[in-house]
């Protein structure tokens, strides 16, 4: 899982109080695509969208839409490509190469693989999106930041240092946008967490000595 449901599941006891999700993003390592493809028939509560076959829509209004996205660890974070397939073609976003597998949760007999918070936080901050989708993604990043430990932030800094200057700038730029966002219903409140965002901005500025 790589999307807005992650901060909910990272909360103590997977309390799910931070974000009201609109869909469920499932990250598929490209090396596992064939294995997933063989099991798609088990998704009997969902059907592929005619418009975008990587999106599976639920038959019941009680379920969220599934959005399969590809992860290629070797990819440049600024690139993207389509993994062609007649059944499940995937958009493979380079920023997701920053995401790695983290803890596992078991809920209702289902095992869920969560990403490591640092990588997901960086993926959200390095991605350049605009409009409502962009704001929601930054607020998801805030939810991840909210649940991050000191060790997660140390790991974030390590990953951040490895990015090239243009991407580091994008991360800091997105933090400034996040700091100035207005609150949205069903999302973490950015106004009450501005101090944490400012502290992270300061830390990343210090991590790579670049003029603002």
């Amino acid at each position: 899982m790589v999307g807005s449901e992650v901060p909910n599941l990272l909360e103590e006891g997977a309390a799910a109080t931070l974000v009201v999700s609109q869909d469920l993003d499932v990250g598929v390592p490209v090396s596992q695509h064939a294995a997933l493809r063989q099991r798609l028939d088990e998704l009997d509560e969902f059907e592929p969208s005619a418009e975008e076959p990587s999106v599976w829509t639920p038959r019941s209004p009680d379920l969220l839409e599934l959005n399969f996205v590809g992860i290629d660890p070797a990819q440049d974070p600024a690139e993207a490509y389509v993994l062609e397939d007649d059944r499940l073609p995937l958009l493979v976003f380079g920023a997701l190469s920053l995401v790695s597998r983290g803890a596992e949760l078991e809920i209702g007999g289902t095992r869920l693989a969560l990403p490591r918070p640092a990588g997901l936080l960086l993926e959200k901050l390095v991605t350049d999106r605009t409009g409502e989708k962009g704001e929601r993604d930054l607020l998801v990043a805030l939810g991840v930041l909210d649940t991050s430990t000191t060790q997660d932030l140390d790991e974030l800094e390590t990953l951040y240092r490895r990015l090239r200057p243009e991407l580091r700038h994008a991360v800091r730029s997105n933090l400034t946008i996040l700091s100035l966002l207005a609150p949205r219903p069903g999302m973490p409140d950015p106004q009450s967490r501005r101090a944490e965002v400012a502290a992270l901005l300061r830390r990343l500025e210090a991590a790579a000595t670049e003029a603002p």
């Binding site: 418009e51 958009l91 243009e166 730029s173 400034t176 700091s179 400012a198 300061r202 003029a211």
Partner: protein
Amino acid sequence: MTAVQERRLRELRSRVLVRAFDHRQRRHARGVWFRLRRVLALAREAYALPRDEAERLIAEGHRPDPVGRELEPPRIVLFVPAERVAEIASARPLAVRLSADLLSAECLALVPFPTGPSTT
């Protein structure tokens, strides 16, 4: 590749090109918005000040942030300790956000977060 995927790829690549341009131009006019957002992000509180109060603060040794001079018309943007702002009866509190109210203020006093920029 479906039409939707093709469109999303094209949009992403366009944004990457714009971001690369923004990064190359970041030390020039193109980077002003980032620099303005950055000083606001480091501010716990923001106040609109009358010009004479802003000039008094400068005379006391508070240095204007350079980003104010990069805007047109120029603004005075000062980081000031909370105790000093509290002494200015005419200081009008503003939400720290890119609002019309904040952007139209000629003189801004920003109170830094505890680990924020120096106020002098």
